[in-house]
């Protein structure tokens, strides 16, 4: 990805005669052309030469699905009056996943034990806290949710 992107960026940055429109191109015509060639004209960025040449229906469909999902998510977020942060939801899902369930189990057990100690007036053992267990759970859950979260953010 990285190095290939770099070269394509370099090519684009060269002052070669590119498709330069003085005025915005009429979108209707392009859509019609794409619709004729590919059948379903939902692809907005579907001007890829490769997909046209190869005629790969599978690739085209895959791209369509991805874009549709993204569009749906954006629409959902836009429709809501108060935008909802996806971070707590993602981290909760991650904490329940097989990856972090062990840490979650330890943390919950610790919370139970320590709260019981606090409520017990006769308890005279050493003072405990669940900071370490919390750290382990938090580290696992946030690291698992990090790439998912950044895909949703702009």
């Amino acid at each position: 990805m990285g190095i290939a992107d770099f070269f394509s960026d370099l090519l684009e940055s060269l002052p070669w005669p590119q498709e330069v429109h003085a005025e915005a191109p009429e979108e209707g015509e392009e859509d019609k052309e794409e619709g004729k060639e590919e059948g379903d004209g939902e692809e907005k960025e579907g001007g890829d030469e490769e997909s046209k040449e190869e005629g790969g229906e599978e690739e085209g469909e895959g791209g369509d699905d991805g874009e549709e999902e993204e569009e749906e998510e954006e629409e959902e977020e836009e429709e809501e009056e108060e935008p909802e942060d996806p971070k707590p939801r993602l981290e909760e899902e991650c904490a329940r996943s097989a990856q972090c369930i062990g840490y979650k189990h330890h943390y919950e057990e610790c919370v139970e034990r320590v709260t019981a100690q606090h409520e017990d007036p006769d308890y005279k053992g050493p003072k405990e806290d669940c900071v370490e267990e919390f750290f382990h759970l938090q580290h696992c859950a946030t690291q698992c949710a990090a790439p998912k979260l950044f895909k949703l953010l702009k």
Binding site: G2, I3, D5, F6, D9, E77, E78, E80, E82, P83, E84, D85, P86, K87, Y107, C110, V111, V114, T115, H118, K127, E128, D129, C130, V131, E132, E133, F134, F135, Q138, H139, T142, Q143, A146, P147, L149, F150, L153, K154
Partner: protein
């Protein structure tokens, strides 16, 4: 002869002298004392004492896939504009960005007119006039972003003794950089874990070393309204403001990456050229063949 006789003598003497009891006891006691002393030394002196708890270290920042951190990517300047908006509306009531002048905003994420209008909202000291008085004038593009407090002491007094750090270089100044700032901003749990002690006036944040931080949670969903209609979730605001803070710390990053690639390309091609020239110059030497043709058989002796 001499060696063998000497060995005979020594073996005879060792057989003859069977060690008395007091020698055995002394040796055993000395050995036991040596082992005991060694164990004591290892237990109480030689081992490092680790007194730090995880809470004192702070939770290590989560690594996020920052787009602008990649080698071939620049800052997302729309995100910088959003981040500056978050800074102005949220952070700037306590934190300063002293090292960025208004002129730096021009061309990065603002037009000249926008930056001028922004600068004129604040007043700055003039040069002394004819009578030596210092008056106030509206800000210019060459002025630096204003600080919320006159000095550090005023900032401490207003914030319960805690100094809100200047944010100009904060991404460079903290271990973990962007990841740390983002984790810190978003890391406030709903309630501290059971048994954790939080001093009054402080808030629990796992990413802050010591876990007690004077700053409270600042970013809530829908706190600002973005111009470009981006949904202003807390994560989105944190991401934008962290990218903006990375820009204030490294405003030269875009140019630096461009220059780095130029340098790499030029040096690599020059190196390739030099390799080629070397091989070209040495080709006559490397490809020569040294042959020895012996003189023809000649029996005559001169």
């Amino acid at each position: 002869m001499f060696a063998t006789s000497a060995r005979n003598i020594s073996s005879k003497s060792s057989e003859a002298a069977s060690s008395p009891f007091y020698l055995t006891a002394t040796a055993s006691g000395a050995t036991a004392a040596a082992i005991g002393l060694g164990a004591f030394y290892y237990q109480f002196v030689a081992q490092d004492a680790y007194a730090m708890t995880p809470a004192e270290e702070g939770l290590h920042a989560t690594q996020y896939p920052w787009e602008h951190a990649k080698w071939t990517k620049t800052f997302d300047h729309a995100a910088l504009r959003r981040g500056f908006q978050v800074y102005r509306e949220v952070c700037s009531s306590c934190h300063s960005i002293k090292r960025i002048p208004y002129r730096k905003l021009v061309g990065t994420f603002m037009t000249v007119d926008e930056a001028k209008a922004l600068a004129e909202e604040n007043e700055y000291d003039t040069e002394p006039n004819d009578e030596g008085e210092i008056e106030k004038r509206p800000g210019k593009l060459s002025d630096y972003l204003p600080s919320p407090y006159k000095n550090d002491e005023a900032a401490r007094a207003a914030n319960n003794g805690a100094l809100p750090p200047d944010l100009s270089l904060i991404v460079k100044a903290r271990h973990g950089g962007c990841d740390y700032i983002f984790s810190l901003l978003m890391g406030y749990p709903e309630e501290p874990p059971a048994g954790a002690t939080v001093q009054s006036g402080l808030n629990f944040n796992p990413y802050f070393p010591g876990t007690g931080i004077a700053m409270a949670k600042q970013l809530y969903d829908g706190l600002v309204e973005y111009e470009d209609k981006t949904p202003a979730t807390a994560s989105q605001m944190a991401k934008d403001v962290v990218e903006f803070l990375n820009w204030t710390a490294e405003p030269e990053m875009d140019d630096r990456k461009k220059m780095g690639w130029k340098t790499l390309i030029v040096t690599v091609s020059l190196f390739a050229l030099s390799v080629w020239v070397k091989r070209y110059k040495w080709s006559t030497i490397k490809t020569r063949k040294i042959a020895y043709s012996p003189p023809k058989h000649d029996t005559r002796i001169r």
